[in-house]
Homo-oligomer: 237 residues x 2
Amino acid sequence: MNKLNNIRIVLCQTSHPGNIGSAARAMKTMGLSRLHLIKPRKFPHAEAVAMASGATDVLENAQIFDTLDDALAGCALVIGLTARQRELSHAAISPRAAAAEALAIAADLEVALVFGGETSGLSNEELIRCQRLAHIPANPDYSSLNLAAAVQVLAYELRVASEEAPQAGGKRLQPATHDEVEGFYIHLEQTLIAIGFLDPALPKRLMLRLRRLFTRAGLQKEEVNILRGILKSIAEK
Amino acid sequence: MNKLNNIRIVLCQTSHPGNIGSAARAMKTMGLSRLHLIKPRKFPHAEAVAMASGATDVLENAQIFDTLDDALAGCALVIGLTARQRELSHAAISPRAAAAEALAIAADLEVALVFGGETSGLSNEELIRCQRLAHIPANPDYSSLNLAAAVQVLAYELRVASEEAPQAGGKRLQPATHDEVEGFYIHLEQTLIAIGFLDPALPKRLMLRLRRLFTRAGLQKEEVNILRGILKSIAEK
């Protein structure tokens, strides 16, 4: 479970110390321990301790920074959480996708998940430091998750993803790269044309359906190799 | 999104009114609105209103009951949340599986998700009224989720599942049945033998790998038809 140790939760300009405590509790229940705070309005604070319940160690070990850049030092991947539609312009990903990506990177490198202040979320200056934006699906009429609740959802997805990932000592499964997956789709399409299942003159709805299926599964390197091996055998038949 | 209207959140013997308010907020952010309370210690209460933020309508419409049986009236499926290992004896399911099952039933019938009190969770008497138990994966050294955080996780999974489900008016996607999926695996195995990719004398690790891939994706009826159509075309090549 040590990949979770390479993931830090960064809270920017938190107003209410109770939310910091609740976030610490949410983190610890899911196995996260590294809390970075940027200019919290009140911290340390008794309300933070009260809401942290048994997670006061996370609060005690929290690091406080003046700038987001300082808090992100050493990170290979920075994911910012956003609730607002206007920020979704550069295609926010789901918490599940964010967790998968975070864990893949956290096998070797450091990752940060960045949460904005309670009132206005991440500022534009903070947002431009994030390589990815993630968005928690919500009721369009009332999308205002509490800060600690948002941390809980992301921490939960990280936990689920870490438990699904291969255990240490087990076989190392590696996600296929974008290029490998695209290479497979080209090979698949050529094969479907060769066996007469796909008519190249017709629209590509079939390929879209197949892409959707394999995207849901999330292909691994070894699986792409198996699938392309099958395609090769079909051609040689 | 109206399936969510057939799902009620039932909180048993909640001690802290603030948790009821936070749970109401968690529900509303995810599109849930029906809150049932069994003997709350303090309710209505100013702390509940304060924590509910903009979700006071959920509190105002909350129904209060003396017994769990009364709160479950009309439910076709009752899922209880448990944090404790000893209750896992009859195989607790994940929040994701619970959400999928709840939504499938909620298409036509009423569903309840039942949460115990803050200190000791669901009593044995409450547990026996649940057809399913669900367990939120957690840090084994500190698995004490706040009540509202647990509601948030389940409500989030319900939201994600409801957004993945087919939209009204859109094309209805149906999961393939067990028999259809097994039929596909048999057909796939025969084809792999026919094209010389699988040696029937060797162990079936290859089929296990392929099963794992398709299980992760969760095959739909239409996808099984496409895949079997491809296998048929290979045979006819």
